[in-house]
Subunit: 511 residues, 2 copies
């Protein structure tokens, strides 16, 4: 069986812009060809009779090396935007295959070299965050932006190949994360103009041709009363979503294979390099899936294919980051693509941790959550690569995860005991921690009903969720990948603030 997208004929879409990118020029031009190049000067090196410019337009890591003779390049500084015409010739330098012998040079926009904050040196990531409106011009930042875009595209290519449809789950939701989480609440800031407009709309509706028996005066008065108060815009409290899962489950109960990719929000005041107030999640939900292992297979294939796509299509950017940010990047990514991920149950993980001889701050104990130190040891030291940990104790997980039919043999202080677990999975990755989390969802209406009760959740409020089980329930499951954590993994970066173009966190929201 071939995938659907491969069946449709590939149409080459012709270029729709008159100019060409530097990437396109450098990858598909024969030496000796006349070309026109536009970009920003990354660096300018003036010699007596000649000036060397590195000009970049963001289309690829490497810009074009341009050679200007005579006084043509005089006074040019980094940051200036230029248009260059000339001939591409084979380069004598080792850095590039082709270079541009410039015949005509035009400054598009000068750069105030005195105050331009990006000088030709390595800037700290902290400094670049301070000038985030210029950060994309820094080499590392632009490499990360390209890898981020290619990752999003790679994930989507994978989902298309598997016949998934993309669902735009809502950002505004009445779900408040069961009251426990740190969420953002929203309220409209209604302007005077809008109030007036609402009033006029009501007045228009009550014109003399209307069959209404009330007078238009009455209606206008009602309109004033009916104009929404800020707290009443939606009629109930509304929050920014923390996950698209429940909404995906709705659609998956009709269209079996669905995914979503979008921002989610946490109002956590934490300031760690792993937390943002607005971050991106990739979430999948699959109907007619009844084995946890199939969920693992699927997410492993997804991560493998996307990473393979990056290795094949972003070689320059990965090479650059491998040199300057993380010398183990390429080997880690290659391992991820080539070697199967390890798999163990939570119960096995606890045993392995207990037998490890390691001195953990928190003693590993069946029934307790895995601490960060445990996760690090499992992925980094024990498995030396990604590891799926499955089937956690039911008491540690949310109400919607499916209870396993067989109990686990838990090692407790009083010996081995039968304990209830749920069909869930966390993917732990060295240096990253939890990259993916997922589960089978409880599809049995009677079990789910009990769960709602046990968690103290309102049956009425979850009637729609119960309905999905009442009308042709199916076994199903899904997972979510923290997109920024994936980007950390494929760039070798340490801080999530540096892998999202506009980071939002406690006390930080620029522009």
């Amino acid at each position: 069986m071939t995938s659907t997208s491969s069946q449709s004929p590939i149409r080459i879409i012709p270029p729709a812009l008159p100019n060409r990118t530097i990437k396109s020029i450098l990858t598909s031009t024969e030496p000796g060809t006349s070309v026109k190049v536009q970009g920003w000067i990354r660096s300018a090196r003036q010699q007596k009779h000649v000036t060397f410019l590195e000009v970049n337009d963001g289309s690829s890591l490497k810009g074009v090396q341009a050679i200007l003779s005579g006084g043509q390049g005089k006074g040019l500084v980094a940051g200036t935007s230029v248009e260059l015409e000339g001939t591409l010739v084979k380069s004598l330098g080792k850095e590039q295959a082709l270079e541009l012998q410039v015949s005509d040079m035009r400054v598009i926009g000068p750069c105030d070299g005195e105050t331009y904050p990006l000088q030709k040196k390595r800037h700290s990531f902290e400094f670049l965050r301070e000038i985030s409106h210029l950060r994309s011009r820094a080499k590392t930042a632009s490499a990360i932006l390209r890898l981020r875009s290619a990752s999003a595209w790679g994930f989507q290519k994978f989902f298309e190949s598997q016949e998934f449809i993309q669902v735009h789950t809502p950002l505004l939701t009445t779900h408040d994360c069961e009251g426990g989480g740190e969420v953002f609440k929203i309220a409209p800031r209604i302007s005077a103009r809008a109030q007036q407009q609402a009033l006029e709309e009501h007045q228009n509706q009550s014109n003399p041709t209307s069959s209404s028996t009330t007078t238009s005066g009455d209606k206008a008065a009602n309109a004033i009363i009916a104009a929404p108060a800020p707290s009443d815009f939606f009629g109930s409290p509304v929050y920014l979503t923390v996950s698209g899962q429940l909404h995906l489950e709705i659609v998956a109960s009709a269209i079996s294979r669905v995914y979503t990719m979008g921002p989610v929000f946490r109002a956590e005041p934490s300031m760690t390099p792993r937390h943002l107030s607005e971050f991106w999640m990739l979430e999948a939900e699959i109907a007619f899936l009844d084995k946890l292992d199939h969920l693992l297979d699927f997410s492993e294939a997804c991560l493998r294919e996307t990473t393979r796509y990056l290795l094949e299509n972003c070689a320059d950017d990965i090479e650059f980051l491998n040199t300057w940010i993380d010398k183990s990047l390429k080997s880690r990514l290659t391992q991820l693509v080539e070697q199967p991920f390890a798999r163990m149950t939570y119960t096995e993980a606890i045993e392995v941790l207990q037998r490890s001889g390691e001195r953990f701050e928190f003693e590993p104990k069946w029934g307790q959550g895995l601490q960060s130190e445990h996760e690090k040891w499992l992925a980094g030291s024990h498995c030396k690569g990604p590891v799926f940990v499955t089937d956690y104790p039911a008491g540690l997980k949310p109400f919607y995860m499916r209870k396993n039919d067989e109990p686990a043999k838990a090692i407790t202080s009083s010996g081995v005991e039968d304990r209830t677990t749920v069909g869930c999975v966390d993917l732990l990755v060295p240096g990253i921690g939890e990259l993916m989390g997922g589960s089978l969802r409880e599809e049995r209406p009677e079990v789910l009903k009990k769960q709602l009760d046990e968690f103290g959740l309102d049956q009425e409020e979850y009637q729609w969720y119960m309905d999905l089980r009442k009308f042709g329930t199916v076994p199903h499951g899904g997972w979510g990948i923290g997109f920024e954590r994936y980007i950390l993994m494929v760039t070798g970066m340490d801080n999530v603030r540096d892998v999202i173009p506009f980071p939002r966190y406690n006390h930080h929201c620029k522009f």
Copy 2:
């Protein structure tokens, strides 16, 4: 020149799930083959010795027609989820090429036929909105969901082919739409647990091994004071974005070709079939673009290629909507793909409107905005297709649009006069209204500075925007497409609430 994405080798990604979709089974199986099918019963027709089922899994409009002999199909009702095994055979019916002779049938999840709201009849869209957690199971709703997903994918394929990178612009922003628009404000709902956690984090940081000279007691006290008040989470008021344009401009000043696709928000209390509080926008920003016509060419190519993609890949869904929703759908979409869009300036549009002989409620007048009735007449009656209207009066448009070098010859009551216009465009489409809006952006620092003053905007607050012009400014432009309006256009639907899976509008936010 070929596009970049076409240069990379096409890798066929193998299936990562064990079961197959009905679409895949029906499109790539030889008659006589044994298959296993899973899905929900759309309809069940019981005859004396045989039962006909239509079983659908959402992978395509048409499900599989299954034939059960004997008592196998007894009591089966719509909504039930089933697993069927059998042989695919050539169908004698006209409705489908293949049908499934069932040997084994298993009910996965029964359906309570008494209370199941989706009976085999046409339901009104109003009714379906009431049961939006089951709406995706209705034929029209699922066709729209598939077309919506294919549209998103089609747009992205186009952008990839043109070497754009996808930028995740933020949803949280300090921009409040210059104070005029109706925006949502956000504030965290901080739980007691989070307060406690923040306190503990601070305490951990002040343990005895720390080199700090203050006592840990002092630090803990500070932590309590520092724990964020709801209004102080980001240190300044934060809103939900109304557009990603300004953020895209930042990235486009380093990576020349960028786009974003995501939700934007309006707190408008309007209840029209064209307005939502949360809707999706596709936005593009292009550096080194100095002619408005190039922007028009580009957006025309984008709409044409995406629509072509739908015609080629969603033929069944479009055919269905053409039959049941809008009999002109296919011909309209074909016209869109094949015929160039009309183009006229605002000044020409005013002339044409004035000469039209139509009796408009609002008299067309140079300097006044085009009313909805004018737009409808221009696209629907005059051009009979999409029309770009360009170069509006500067006074009607926002501060960032580029002032044209040449004034327009405006027809005023005192004769023809020179008036200033901006390099902008609205794309008007019959039956839809404004589908796309865009402009060249003011790239000349001295002109932009004056504009900020004229609009009463704070120079300080827009320093970052001025910086983009101070350090290597380039001519650039961009546009935004209202995604739901595009979906209205390609589905023939009337109401935006029916083309987004979870509509949010005044007094309506479900789940």
